[in-house]
């Protein structure tokens, strides 16, 4: 990589990143609903499970 065209970017402060870590549980919940929910947690889980059935299989996550 040419160092001239790619100057070192100053790192973003950890304090700013820490605030965005709050988004991590939300994003993980979203991934969880797609990939792992079987209706045990959410009431709509069984419907979601069946709706996203093909996606789960093709994403490679365990499915019944």
């Amino acid at each position: 990589m040419s160092q001239i065209s790619a100057p070192h970017t100053p790192p973003l402060p950890w304090s700013g990143i820490a605030r965005w870590l709050l988004a991590v549980p939300v994003l993980l919940l979203l991934a969880y609903l797609v990939a792992f929910d079987n209706g045990a947690v959410s009431q709509a889980g069984d419907y979601l499970h069946e709706l996203m059935h093909d996606g789960r299989h093709l994403l490679g996550v365990p499915c019944h």
């Binding site: 965005w20 797609v34 069946e50």
Partner: protein, 250 residues
């Protein structure tokens, strides 16, 4: 600044998820249909075992609904993956990895693919419908999550080992990074329990084709996340090189 990076990641992930869904629809759906046909044939020959089955007589969601759900599932999954990817990108930028932002984006996507797809796939590969015992779904899910964590730790260990050898010659750095990855990942692959629930007589070619389609779906997803994020970063970091006179004629 961070918000801009995150939104970029969410959008890249959404688009990547839709691209992966197009691939999955084309390459994967025929195998799912074949597997379901086999499953229903097997269930029909054993009527007493069919009652608690997800693909029984009255499905909660029709097959067409599930084909639509494929796009929904991959769009949501891609969005979540893109957001997490962007957070990791924001944390690493300027601290670790390649200095060029597009190269960092591509490398990070490759590392994420290895950590959360390739390592788990090698131990617990994707299975089509009709493969897998519904009774063991809890255990299989836990094992799967453990191997995802192992994959993430192994990739992190590779990065840490590469950094530890930062003052050494290039071959030493790459060897350190490779060992940092292979030792934990190899140990987990060798030591974690094997799951083999392929029913007797299930066609080996169908299993293989399905697994390749599944892996391909994830390849498309992560390649697109990396490429789209790199493209957006590349465009965003060079506004000065292209004068904006076209937009504001004097």
């Amino acid at each position: 600044m961070i918000a801009k990076l995150i939104v970029r990641g969410l959008l890249a992930g959404l688009l990547a998820g839709l691209l992966a869904a197009v691939f999955a629809y084309t390459a994967g759906e025929p195998h799912i249909d074949s597997a379901i046909a086999l499953e229903e044939a097997a269930a029909a020959s054993q009527p007493e075992a069919a009652h608690d089955h997800d693909h029984g007589e009255e499905p909660v969601v029709s097959r067409d609904g599930q084909r639509f759900g494929l796009f929904l599932a991959l769009a949501l999954y891609g969005t979540a993956a893109g957001g997490l990817f962007a957070l990791a990108f924001a944390a690493l930028r300027g601290r670790a990895g390649p200095r060029s932002e597009p190269v960092l984006a591509l490398s990070l996507a490759g590392a994420a693919f290895v950590a959360v797809v390739l390592v788990p796939f090698l131990k617990y590969p994707a299975n089509p419908p009709a493969v897998g015992d519904p009774e063991t779904i809890g255990r299989r899910t836990v094992l799967y999550l453990v191997i995802v964590v192992v994959g993430l730790l192994a990739v992190a260990a590779a990065g840490a080992a590469y950094r530890l050898a930062a003052n050494g010659p290039a071959p030493a750095r790459w060897l350190a990074g490779g060992a940092g990855f292979l030792v934990p990942a190899g140990a987990a692959l060798a030591l974690m329990p094997t799951v083999d629930e392929v029913p007797a007589g299930f066609p080996a070619t169908l299993l293989w084709d399905f697994r390749i389609a599944s892996l391909g779906t994830q390849v498309v997803l992560w390649a697109a996340v990396g490429a789209l994020y790199a493209l957006a970063t590349h465009r965003a970091t060079r506004p000065a090189s292209r004068p904006a006179t076209a937009a504001t004629p004097a």
